[in-house]
């Protein structure tokens, strides 16, 4: 399994976060919200200084490029838990 995180943060910001938190997964920078728009996750003007950000959303994609699981929270405090990810990963044989 591969875990990939996407936000509008710059590569530099994400690199700092990666170092600070000791993260090992891939962090991608979507400065212009291209991918975020394709996934219809744009939360316009929700950033601190009014810029566009992604609303939280998690997807599991299989090796055929097909979505196998989606989690779109209705409350940005409540995100997918690691147990959910692990359960989904086990199902994907």
């Amino acid at each position: 399994m591969e875990v990939v995180a996407v936000s509008v943060d710059s590569p530099e910001q994400s690199k700092d976060l990666q170092k600070e938190a000791g993260l090992t997964y891939v962090i991608l920078s979507d400065l212009n919200a291209e991918a975020i728009r394709k996934y219809d996750l744009l939360h316009s003007k929700a950033g601190q200084d009014g810029h566009d950000v992604a609303r939280p959303g998690e997807f599991l994609v299989d090796s055929n490029g097909v979505v196998r699981w989606v989690n779109l929270t209705e409350d940005f405090r409540v995100r997918a838990r690691s147990e959910q990810f692990l359960a989904q990963a086990r199902q994907l044989k």
Binding site: K15, V26, L28, E34, L41, A46, H51, S63, G65
Partner: protein
Amino acid sequence: MQRKRNWNIWIGFLLCVVGFLSYPFFFAQYPITRDVPWATFLIMAVGLLFLVSGLRRAFGRPQEYKGKIAGSILGVLSVAVVGLFCFGVFYASKQLPKSAGAPQVGQKAPEFSLVDTDKQQVSLASLFAAQLPATKKPPKGVFLVFYRGYW
């Protein structure tokens, strides 16, 4: 007779503030106290109980206890702090776009190409083409996690 200091009012107010701050700085990090903020509510509830008892002393036995003025001010502030937290938790954090056009189970995940932290282009296809260091095989699946970032 010297009137006693009404500590319950101050303890109650302090607990409301501590409860409020405990969420972003501590409890929000753990899903068990994040999704339903019961621990924060518990601290605030104890705070409000202290406050009520302090106010009852101040207004019920004013010859014995101080705190009519301080109690009124801190009472209003405490309720405001608790109210602000409730507003955040029950309303503000739920203001999210519907995202009806997001890819659904069984649909093809849209391709994208973005830069990683080393400014290398990474696409969905390239992720499936590359070997994982642990298994020396391409991944069976990719978890895509979109998040708000620093905003």
